[in-house]
Amino acid sequence: MATITGAQGGAKIGSQIGRSLPRLEARDKVSGRAEYTHNLRLPGMLYGKIFRSTIAHGRIKSIDTSAAKKIPGVFRVVTAEDIRTVIPHPYYGPAFHDQPILAIDKVRFVGEPVAVVLASDPHVAEQAVQEIVAEYEELPAIYDEIEAMTSKVFVHDELKPAGAFADLKHLTGRKNTNIALDFKLRRGDVEKGFAESAHVFEHTFHTQKVLHLAFEPFVSIADAKPSAVTIYTSSQGPSFVRVEIARLLGLPENRVRIRVPYVGGGYGSKLYIKLEALVTALSLLSRRPVKISLTMEEQFYQITKHPCTFRIKSGLDKDGRIIARKCEVYWNGGAYADVGPRVTQKSGFTASGPYDIEHVHVDSYALYTNVTPSGALRGFGIPQLVWSYESHTDMIARALKIDPVAFRKKNILRKGQKHATGTPVNDAPLEAILDRIAARLNWGKPFERGNGAVKRGRGLAIAIKAVIAPTTSVAILNVTADGSPILYCGTVDMGQGSDTAMAQIVGEVLNVPAESVRVVPRDTDITPYDMGTLGSRSLFHMGHAVRMAAEEARAKIAALAREVGEPEGSNVPVAELFKKKYGMQAGNIVGSGTYKPDYIAPQPGTGLTTNVAPFWMVAGAGAEIEVDTETGKVSVTRLINVVDCGRPINPKIVETQISGAALMQFGFTMFEKMHIDGGQVTNASLADYKIPGILDVPAVMENETIDSIQTNGPFGAKGVGETATFCVAPAIANAIDDAVGVRLTELPLNAEAVYRAIRAQQNKPLEDE
């Protein structure tokens, strides 16, 4: 299916590709006209409010809803028992069918939904929720991913893979374990490599629990009838929601309709099932439309980024070449797998980094724990890995007294070389990116080191990601009788500007302005299948599908011209062609495109494959920082991001994706952290969990796309939504080391952590609490 024809990498392009067109929906958004699920109300609609577990792990002894039911205005109080009357097996999940719609028998994390109150007035529902009393028999709980490896506390009694993924089948029915996936990559013989090494380094790194915090919190509405259901939802993957709801209800896909207007941010949180199954069950029970809107505070109990522990060991020859690398990565998946096993596997491919290493050994484990589930967050695990391997890279360079840039150049993967998976590295200009970062930092030239209490330093990092594969996108293009095109594609515009980019691709193929293309809102009754808006895959995959659909339409327009007797290459408007054919303004031309890239599944046991992904994402970052040595406070004075996105379809939107991604990771790097005490999140609100504000933005930010072409990409392009997240954390940590000679191995790099490291280095460690 991936035999690609038409406009490719180096092909000549016209007027629409490369245009910094303002987003098509921008005016509607800033004037309050854009549709969001939050603003939607259906006649007779009830509001649901969730009663949540207050303990991390326990058996449910009783749920007393009697007082809640007595509150005037309460329509109904629902528990798992009720859910089962309409959905007999109410477990969902993309990788494992492990998550109950409402807790059944046990609760597994603080904040897990246990019951729901339905009322016409959401405030009444909230008041009634306070009256519900649940009694639990508390069970021992585990929170740490390393403890989960060997603990006798098991979050689930038995593993329940969803069956969609071949590489999870072997886990079916496995008991007495918290390991939801164990991915292995084996290249060469790592122990032999270590034995032959002149130097061996081993370090362990940690990342903390953080979350997406989209400014539109989760919201879903279901209008369900026994024979058909319509769901309006803030989702990044309407096609998956349809498949999963159809499975839960035992309905064919054409009886399940998922509608997604504009989405106020997703970042990976709004993938797969979130509130959709719950509102569907509630609507079936109540026979009314049901809406659940989470508060900002409730988002802390829906989905988060994976905390991670990464043990990395490298062996080097006497010349500073890395010859062996062992990576043990432990992913803290929380109470339900969500897409964690996918993060574990797909990021595991590139855990050894953008380096040419003969012997590579990767073990990547997805682990269940008793905290809010973890999922995808703008990078699918890659930022956690890069944080570790690029900190490790600098630590080795420093220990061997090799310049960090020279050390990277000695080991960097170059064009055509095989990556650890065995897949050749093409269209991945790592060295060019490293050179640009170094040039911008004036690397090798003198650097102002600061004075008094303030010390200055600089650092850099580079990274590689294999885009998730294989995935499929389908698009339909409808040219109406007056020639105006309508595009049907399931890519969700959640702020990244995809509607604008897709319209530009249509415009390029049909030679019309992108502004003239209508992109219809996502509706699974209308828009065809798409695997999901995730992992920076949309521009490449859906971009190809849209291109193919437009090319088919263009070919049909040419055929119509011939049919009505117009000469080859005639510039008669499309509307005239229709008129000539039908005698009036009538008819349509419909083109469609389906894109699925070539892919060769990795061999079980070794993880090796000659085609792990259709494209590589590569990035670099450089940072200049100041450390107040008396407080540990770090100020990032300059942050440089250089990424490869192939040919930018819309350079202005690309730049906002780079700066947005870098700033999001900047928050995760410098201060964001969910504080968890005995399973309780102690800062679950925006009052206590701060994300970067405008005053946190580094004084100088430089965003650059390297001049390149993705040979197999649509018009030479590829995705860029995540790329600038990869390198921010290690670049800053490396700069801190450069400034004050201390090495932090755990995120965030907040003032206290830096101060403690400085004190420890002075042999005057600061006492603990």
Binding site: E126, Q127, M670, F671, G693, A751
Partner: protein, 290 residues
Amino acid sequence: MTPFELLEPVSIKEALGLLDPDDPSIRPVGGGTALMLMMKAGVFRPTRLISLRRVGGRLSGIKAGRDGGLTIGAMTPLAALEHSADVARVAPVITRAMRRLSNVRVRNVATVGGAIAHGDPHMDLPPVLIALGASVTVISPTGERTIKVEDVLTGYYETALEKNELIAELTIPAQGARRSAYIKFTAGSFEDWPALGVAVSLEADGDTVRSATVVASAATAKAVRLTGAEGALKGARIDDKTLARAGDAGAQEAEVISDVRGSAPYKRELIRVHVGRAVRQALAQNGATH
């Protein structure tokens, strides 16, 4: 948020009449910015809120006294302080502190009285007001009394206010030759609540301190004077040694608490450093006019 009754009395007398000292679910509310956070988090579920926004009279406005001091109505929004020429003249430290006090949306709504009555140690205004020697006039059905701001705050979200009392106005005495500074140290985001606030107000002859008031907040359960640090500064020449002594004294005497913004030992170090930094900032101010 769960349903509650909102009343908007138009006089102090009417407002006092609506309070019920025996019912903790009935509370007066100023701008509501702090109370709303508690209500959204479910920590506080009122049955009735008595909004003071229509009360007016003594509760509103900023008046410059002939003696060089200021009287500020309790319901004055923080933004009014921020933009007041009188405040900038008498107590420019307040004007400067406002720029980093939460954000413009909060400052437009939050009130002076609320910032004191809420008893939250992370608020920026109380330590500054204590350093300036400010006091409040509170009214109850039986009369009124004046209390120094440092005596209003008695503990973590605890105040000396009786349940039937309302703050009517705030008085800032004339500052004369006193110079003041406030440092807000955030451990994470620039817009986070402070891990430490330090306010200093002092009078100096050249580089010798005649008297100093030093206040710590946020790291402590309440905004509190660091009298040891004050003692170390009084009569001393300002140099690195004096400031280190004052910082050490402050770090030793302050009862710091651990929270998500930092451990107690770390906050103690922050006090050690910032007492001196705040003194230097205060001295750098060009007298009471900026």
